[in-house]
């Protein structure tokens, strides 16, 4: 980065270059640097959380295995889930939105650059605090270590009586911190997209990535606060003897579940919509056609956001709600599948009649389409509440949400990274290594998660550190564990690619993919001020208009 931009940070005395670079990152408010820091930190946490999962799969590969104790296993799945959702998913989407939104709307930075930095550091310190629990949670009494209450921390398991020591408090506090970071980022994205658009960029000319970033951010505003509220209630219970979730005092254990899932369900859409956003930019470029049905894609995203606020109790079909309650949430769950399906159809229709190029970004998009289709359908199955009475809390659900989060979210993010890395760094990622990454990871993903559906059908519950022989689960667990090897190999290709290409990748130029949105109208990497002169636009594909003056988009608006 440093060699290609104007040095706007004055040199501080005669410190070594590394110190200067680090200081620059600590004080920066530049949305591009912060965006990359978000993504970089997210990827580091990804490797950590993936390692935790690998140990879990080692333990579960055989029945009655003794690789880890139950206590260690319970911490593993809690930390794996908490890290992946809050320290990998949330920062990566924040990073991508912060990096791309100003560039795509022709602005110089986010609306509130200092707030942006504040948000990053809140996330970062929240993450550190969570992992500090391994060392610090035992405290004076020696009880407790990393949190072990599951990533959704149901009460009353989290009450003082059942969760001794401070491990649960670390979970609560670290997520409160990083939650503030997410909310602040969301406010910033909305303010930027509404107030800093370049001339001519009406809302219906926004790149879909920006539209979906607005939708995601709006959902963050509505969903993160309920989690913070519930966590404050939990802290009050644990520290001041409040009775929010104290069943002995007449409190309701189910109330935590309602509050948590009012956050938790929109949260998963918060994670997946940015992946949708990546697809909506990448599939058109590699099909050489505009996105099919731009207004519908916007409407579908808004509908998903709206409906997803009303499906939360489909995580609670087994708590004994009335039949009316169960029917309501099953219905809303089916309804949210409709706009989601529409999006899949629109991406397909974008490909139809196009000229598809299977570069790594497109490969990951195709993987996404296949896997997210399956994930959505297993989700529909889970929405059939009686079916969920069998499948809830089984490995079928584990398979479903890994399909959405790994097969969907992660593949979408990989597509985005392969697509925008050249812009951020100025060099292409290696194409062959990218293809190796794709196939190794895809094969590993399917080996690991496909058999888990069947383990669920056969009655295997989740969050168990071991299982006995004879239930028929052994072969599925073995295959599932073997898949980790291929996934690890794929990720290693990815990491090597990221690092090597930084120095040795082919120079990318401004617009290596022949794309159409404004980020491709400046250098790679962009200068700190993004654009020499701020552009003005007349359509949603200003670079298409530029390259095809005989057939510009604005003629068809």
């Amino acid at each position: 980065m440093a060699a290609r931009e104007i040095a706007l940070t004055p040199r501080i005395g005669r410190l070594p270059a590394v110190a200067i670079r680090l200081h620059d990152l600590v004080v920066t408010t530049d949305h591009k640097k912060l965006g990359l820091m978000y993504i970089g930190a997210g990827l580091v946490f990804f490797v950590i959380a993936g390692s935790l999962a690998s140990v879990m799969r080692l333990q579960l590969a055989a029945p009655n295995n003794g690789a880890v104790s139950p206590q260690v296993f319970n911490r593993l799945f809690t930390m794996h889930g908490t890290t992946m959702v809050f320290l990998v998913g949330m920062p990566i989407i924040a990073g991508m939105m912060n990096y791309l939104v100003p560039l795509m709307i022709g602005a110089r930075d986010m609306a509130f650059p200092r707030l942006n930095a504040f948000g990053f550091w809140m996330f970062f310190f929240g993450g550190l605090l969570l992992y500090l629990s391994y060392l610090a949670a035992p405290g004076i009494t020696g009880a407790g270590s990393a949190p072990d209450v599951g990533w959704f921390a149901y009460s009353p398991l989290t009450a003082r009586a059942f969760s001794r020591g401070h491990s649960t408090d670390y979970w609560t506090l670290s997520l409160l911190l990083s939650g503030v970071g997410s909310i602040v980022s969301a406010i910033n994205v909305i303010a930027t997209a509404v107030s800093l658009r370049c001339k001519g960029m009406t809302m219906m000319r926004l790149p879909l990535f920006v539209w979906l970033s607005i939708v995601t951010s709006f959902m963050i505003l509505l969903a993160l606060s309920p989690l913070s509220a519930a966590q404050v209630m939990l802290l009050l219970d644990r520290f001041l003897g409040a009775r929010f979730f104290d069943t002995q005092a007449g409190g309701s254990a189910v109330l935590w579940q309602h509050f948590f899932w009012i956050f938790g369900h929109p949260e998963v859409y918060i994670l997946i919509i940015p992946a949708f956003a990546c697809l909506s930019e990448i599939v058109p470029v590699f099909s050489r056609k505009p996105i099919f049905g731009y207004p519908i894609m916007v409407a579908a995203a808004v509908m998903i956001a709206f409906i997803s606020l009303g499906v939360w109790a489909h995580h609670m079909f087994t708590i004994g709600m009335t039949s009316m309650g169960n029917i309501f949430f099953a219905t809303s769950t089916f309804l949210v599948a409709v706009p989601t399906g529409i999006k899949i159809f629109n991406w397909l229709a974008t490909m139809y009649g196009g000229k598809l190029r299977f570069e790594p970004p497109m490969l990951f998009c195709i993987g996404f389409l296949f896997q997210f289709l399956i994930a959505g359908l297993t989700g529909v199955m889970l929405g059939v509440a009686p079916f969920d009475w069998q499948l809830h809390d089984s490995y079928f659900v584990v398979a479903h949400f890994h399909y959405t989060l790994v097969g969907g979210f992660l593949f979408g993010i990989f597509a985005g990274i392969y697509y925008w890395y050249p812009k951020a760094v100025g060099r292409m990622l290696d194409r062959r290594l990218g293809i190796w990454h794709f196939w190794l990871f895809a094969i590993g993903f399917h080996l690991t998660f496909d058999p888990q559906h069947f383990a669920g059908f056969l009655g295997m519950p989740r969050r168990i550190y071991t299982y006995e022989e004879g239930r028929g689960w052994e072969v599925y667990n073995m295959i599932s564990s073997v898949g980790v090897i291929a996934q690890v190999a794929g990720i290693m290709c990815f990491v090597v690619n990221l690092v090597r290409s930084y120095w040795k990748g082919e120079p990318a130029g401004e617009d290596p993919w022949d794309a159409w949105t404004l980020e491709w109208a400046t250098t790679s990497p962009p200068p700190e001020y993004n654009f020499e002169t701020l552009p003005a636009v007349r359509s949603s594909r200003p670079l298409w208009d530029l390259k095809h003056p005989e057939d510009p988009d604005w003629k068809y608006e």
């Binding site: 303010a191 969903a223 009775r243 007449g250 003005a536």
Partner: protein
């Protein structure tokens, strides 16, 4: 034609005016704070009548009439302060802005006295029962927002007295007043839930 030119086609619409980033940000803030309060309100409503033992609301709560009047009038005074600011009436601004701070501070003081009475008299604590838990957390959450608001108002007053506030800061004054109105609106809800419905 250079790329810079090409990226500057004749633009419709002609005049390009966008909402101010400050307005958007404060609206977003209010949205997210509404979600936060909503959860505490839901918890309060859900637990009405479910305490296993006393003290009970009907026994110990006294309607905070004066405090409410103070807080709601402070919304009026802040509007008057804003108007004075728009008309560059420094004296008027000082008067009404300070009045807003005083009214808010009185509200806080009366709330503190109410809590003191409840803690020492009937011994209603946050751990006494579900009523105590939900009462102190909801009213306390609101009070913490009043404290934040008073801090913003006081800082503004100090900066104004130091002559650092200029007419161009009119929008910032407006946004702070929006936050203050939000805090008042939340009080209307909290009051209704705690002192009307919950009793």
């Amino acid at each position: 034609m250079t790329k810079a030119d090409a990226l500057n086609p004749p633009v419709e619409p002609d005049d390009w005016r966008l909402p101010s980033r400050g307005v958007v940000a404060v609206v977003c803030l209010i949205v997210t704070e509404t979600a936060l309060f909503a959860i505490f309100v839901v918890a309060y409503l859900y637990y009405i009548g479910k305490s296993l033992g006393g003290p009970y609301p009907s026994e110990v709560l006294e309607t905070p009439v004066i405090a409410t009047i103070c807080l709601l009038s402070s919304s009026l005074t802040i509007i008057l302060a804003e108007r004075a600011f728009e008309r560059a009436n420094a004296g008027g601004f000082r008067l009404w802005w300070a009045g807003t701070i005083v009214l808010g501070a009185v509200f806080l003081a009366l709330t503190a006295m109410e809590w003191f009475r409840l803690l020492t008299g009937p011994r209603l604590t946050i751990s006494a029962n579900l009523f105590g838990t939900t009462f102190y957390s909801l009213v306390g959450l609101h009070a913490s927002h009043v404290i934040v608001g008073l801090t913003l108002l006081t800082l503004t007053m100090i900066l104004f007295l130091l002559r650092r506030v200029r007419p161009a800061h009119g929008e910032r004054i407006k946004l702070i007043s929006w936050y203050w109105h939000f805090v008042d609106a939340v009080w209307v809800v909290v009051f209704t839930v705690v002192y009307v419905i919950g009793r």
